[in-house]
Symmetry: C2
Subunit: 387 residues, 2 copies
């Protein structure tokens, strides 16, 4: 197959990054042919960078109808992901959507339905799925090495953002602009990996959000969520953009031991006798199964965004299965929506989330917004250090 | 002052340990003069060990009235701690009570009131307060090094107990016998240290207990508790006796950085600019305060039970202040009661706990008990490895 002609929709922080590596032909079998952005300054910048070799559009629908793209990478603010993706599917274009898949599950279901009706390849920019450390954890779970999971615990508070970050874009950290805070902007990867590595979706959620706790924003910047799974396991997810330095520590306790991922290292504390068996047979009162601390080797390339884009291009060209199918974007979002809803209702929320109730509550939050941000203000930040 | 004559009430696992070191004169200024236990086999064992140099009583009240003790160390099952302590105060005896202070706060308040009316020294066996690592953490908080606390997180799941442990004593892990599970038996130290190191008591608690989740017992062996403090900080406490190997990791995030205690090491991640100041002044969007990873030296002797007993004896002899005053036992218990109550009510619980409601709910749990344990069965286990 010939090169896939890719258009980038949205030249903000992430879109610009994708455009740059595509332009320099870092992705085999792909060529950047077009970009779109509503902002004229950004279009002028693009012209300066790439001249007329990359076509420029102010309206993404014109880009989609231009005939110069086979595929689009959508890197606009969250709310527009689904609408643009649906339009792209209608144009029989392949789609790579930035995370999150959307802002509420009702919307994302429509996008997934449109994808199913089209004959295109739909991926989501879950670049953390290319991280060999999380692939190894998933391997340990899926292969049965870990055994039945008892507890998950992710402290992911190393998303520190100062106020000036939030002041840099009019859409940032508003219900209307982003539909949430740390859960929608920083955590989509971890919320996805939480379910992807374990193969478990929570059955119900009880969560506690601090809204504008550490910043002058209206959305959540501090979250503690407790979850229960179908198999009886429990879990905790703690996240914040208000702590420095933060922590990124993911622990899973299971019948065959415990895995901890922290500081780029995966440690498997492996029991020689599974705990449930030991519990039933050991007669000594005090005592525990013999445990080996294993530093599991992590091999492979953490190819990040380019890895996901390459994987998507390969799927388009050869039909290979995607590492991060777009349809799976709803899972992490469902957890995110459940966390918001539980906090708003101050009560348990069962999964799947009541999508109409969530939508209603989100509209209430938007209506009640007192944000006086200049919505048109927007500044492209250096994304070094973001994910 | 002459040697303090100490009587041990209860020759179970812990009482036997205390008696042994007191008998061998490991505590300056103290001498073991009497023991009491309802169990004749244990009395026979005591006679064999110590002959008539240590008087033996089946009834603790006889020991208290014997005139051969100035002070008693109470190491009986939890429920009887308060009643025995009150009797001892009425006999003008100094008291050291094993943890927990009691089973419900209503009871412990009566004990504290009796202590206040007596002219004696009242200590509690919070031997973990002698651990220099927790003393150092308390120092970092109290001296202001850490600044305002934002979040506490303690994963204390290294209490693994197999079923045979629970089968070793008729009173174990029943509502009637212990008034709870891991919170009452294993966690009293951590619940105390959680408040002692931070100087913060939760304002309200939302907790989730698994009752008999990993063992054939009726009380909780798996707990996740979320708390909120008056200053806006939040916290999580996760504990279990059903995981192997467990974790013991205590993290505090604060305005001046973060402290983590794990594997016997205290690491202070210290910001050069406090986060709140950085947040307000930094204009760069992405960025965080410079952070130094400091391995704080931990000096001093972790003197454990003997350290607490020595401290108590010193206080009796010289009037020195106690490291672990008995009256403070109510704090950790209050958190423990709040966790139970929140789980039972499936709702928030404010602190101070409604003591009458807690008492009522506890009686309901006792009444609903289906435990068919032989209450008289009791086996003294080797306490090596317990705290």
């Amino acid at each position: 197959m010939e090169n896939v002609r890719v258009g980038i929709i949205g030249l903000g922080n992430m879109g610009t990054n994708h455009a740059k590596y595509l332009y320099r032909k870092a992705i085999d079998g792909a060529v950047l042919t077009a970009i779109s952005d509503h902002n004229e300054e950004r279009l002028a910048w693009a012209e300066k960078q790439w001249g007329d070799s990359v076509q420029r559009f102010q309206d993404p629908q014109q880009l989609m109808a231009s005939g110069v793209v086979d595929a689009v990478l959508i890197a606009t603010p969250h709310y527009s992901h689904t609408e643009l993706a649906i339009k792209a599917f209608e144009n029989q274009l392949h789609v790579m959507v930035e995370k999150p898949a959307g802002v509420y599950t009702k919307q994302v279901k429509q996008m997934n339905a449109a994808a199913a009706k089209s004959n295109t390849v739909f991926g989501i920019m879950y670049n953390q799925r290319t991280n060999p450390i999380y692939q190894k954890l998933r391997d340990l779970v899926q292969s049965g090495e870990l055994g039945e999971i008892k507890r998950t615990n992710w402290i992911i508070t190393d998303w520190y953002r100062p106020q000036s970050y939030y002041d840099s874009g009019g859409w940032r950290a508003t219900w209307e602009g982003e539909g949430g805070g740390v859960l929608l902007n920083q955590d989509p990867h971890q919320l996805d990996l939480w379910q992807w590595t374990t193969g478990l979706m929570p059955k119900r959620v009880r969560a506690f959000c601090g809204f504008g706790k550490y910043h002058s924003i209206e959305v959540e910047d501090d979250v503690t969520a407790y979850v229960e799974y179908e198999n009886g396991a429990t879990g905790v997810f703690v996240t914040s953009t208000g702590e420095a330095p933060g922590t990124n520590r993911y622990e899973i306790s299971a019948n065959n031991g415990k895995v901890v991922i922290e500081n780029g290292k995966l440690t498997f504390h492996r029991l020689r006798t599974p705990e449930r068996e030991f519990n039933a047979t050991y007669k000594g009162g005090f005592g525990a199964p013999e445990c080996w601390e294993i530093n599991v080797p992590i091999r492979g390339n953490h190819s990040e965004h380019q890895g996901i884009t390459q994987d998507w291009i390969n799927a388009i060209r050869s039909g290979s299965p995607l590492l991060a199918p777009g349809e799976e974007g709803i899972r992490g979002l469902e957890i995110s929506n459940a966390i918001h809803l539980s906090s708003w209702l101050d009560d348990w929320v069962d999964l799947p989330v009541d999508e109409d109730l969530y939508y209603k509550k989100l509209q209430e939050a938007i209506a009640a917004s007192t944000s006086d941000k200049d919505r048109s203000a927007s500044k492209t930040l250096d994304v070094k250090g973001t994910y």
